[in-house]
């Protein structure tokens, strides 16, 4: 679903360029340049920290989110990484989910959910494997039954409505239902 930007393709043998951060996008434009960097070899897409997305986000590549996403995220067979700056208020379905930022919403992974140090999840986790690091915050339920590996509901790919940060205020930070953010 993401357009490849040949301009940021690294030369052979060179490491991938650092994420470019914010890229203003046209609201509702299909195939918007939501990606701000692209690893050609590993197909990892990065959503920069000033990017705000509201709506359904589907993909068939690994994705790293440093910005704000509100709605639904589906990466059926791929890894979703919520970076340290990422703030997600969404239902998440992926093969694996790595949380270094903040997630408010239910997370379903067919393989693994990994909440790293300082990562935060307020919601219910369904995954056969769950790792919660010391220092992580979690509030909700964990279901690691085998049935948890069920595939996410198939949804039609819809364009995301992305707004340039300059023209619209960012999504407010997810507020936990109760209790402050705490260290485990």
């Amino acid at each position: 679903m993401w357009k490849r930007d040949e301009a940021v393709r690294p030369a052979p043998g060179q490491p991938m360029a650092a994420p470019l951060g914010s890229t203003p996008m046209t609201a509702g434009a299909p195939g918007s340049r939501a990606e701000t960097s692209h690893n050609v070899e590993k197909d990892i897409v990065n959503i920069g920290k000033s990017v705000v997305i509201k709506g359904e986000l589907n993909g068939s590549e690994d994705l790293t989110i440093e910005g704000h996403v509100e709605g639904t995220i589906q990466l059926r067979d791929h890894v979703l990484t919520i970076g340290p700056n990422g703030k997600i208020k969404a239902q998440v379905f992926a093969k694996a989910v790595i949380v270094l930022g903040e997630v408010t919403g239910n997370v379903t992974a067919s393989d693994k959910v990994d909440i790293r140090d300082n990562g935060s999840v307020d919601g219910d986790i369904v995954s056969p494997r769950v790792a919660i690091a010391e220092g992580a915050h979690f509030r909700g339920s964990v279901d690691m039954q085998r049935k948890a590996a069920a595939q996410p509901p198939k949804a039609e790919v819809k364009p995301v409505a992305a707004q340039p940060v300059a023209s619209q205020p960012p999504v407010p930070a997810p507020t936990p239902p109760a209790g402050p953010r705490i260290g485990a």
């Binding site: 909440i115 979690f138 705490i182």
Partner: protein, 214 residues
């Protein structure tokens, strides 16, 4: 399937759920009630567990992956800290009365740890009432109660090593333990439950396993 069968890891790949590095320096204490609690818990298929302590990754792995539990983590220690910081401890009983949206009898087991020790009488009563409500008939509740004069202002995180050993890791608290409860006070507090087993450990911790009458 027996208890020992259940706590045998279901996966051979050891890299799975237990990411919490159990610190070498954490003191380990033998627990007598945990095994009985686990026996109660695993007498049902897919038991549902309520953990009132802070999330501990290895405990989640132990209950979720090895025992097949669905775990609800509701860190009431953080709620207590928040109320204490806001100077709103008098509202805690009311808060606790609405804290659990779950239906009656929703949980097969509850890990209360030593939370009651940190609560005032009113809050403890409100919590005990709610826990009794959400525990299913024949369900089990495990509580720890201090028996030494309260002097520490730290909470304790209980990390399950195995079914007979717990690691204790203390961390900063906004409030210390309140008055030590006598056994009869504890029994009165959980009037809707019956004491199944009670142990006084060498570290002066009382472990009490409650069961809800059928």
């Amino acid at each position: 399937m027996g208890l020992l069968d259940r706590i045998t890891p279901r996966r051979s790949d050891a890299e799975t759920s237990v990411d919490l590095p159990v610190s070498v320096g954490d003191p380990v204490f033998a627990t007598k009630a945990l095994r009985k609690f686990l026996t109660c818990l695993t007498s049902r298929e897919s038991p549902v567990l309520l953990d009132l302590g802070p999330v501990v990754g290895s405990n989640v792995g132990f209950f979720g992956e090895q025992l097949g539990c669905k775990i609800f983590v509701e860190d009431l220690f953080s709620d207590l800290d928040r109320h204490n910081r806001k100077g709103a401890l008098e509202t805690l009983p009311e808060f606790l009365n609405t804290r659990f949206p779950q239906a009656d009898g929703a949980f097969d087991g509850i890990l209360c740890w030593d939370l009651i020790d940190y609560l005032d009488r009113g809050a403890a009563q409100a919590l005990a009432g709610q826990l009794t409500r959400v525990l299913r008939p024949e369900g089990a509740l495990l509580g720890f109660f201090g028996s030494a004069p309260p002097r520490d202002t730290r909470y304790t995180k209980y990390i399950i090593v195995d079914e007979v050993n717990l690691k204790h890791r203390s961390y900063a608290a906004a409030r210390g333990r309140q008055a030590i409860l006598l056994n009869r006070d504890i029994i009165k507090l959980f009037a809707g439950l019956r004491v199944s087993d009670s142990f006084l450990l060498q570290n002066n911790l009382r472990e009490i396993l409650f069961r809800k009458p059928a």
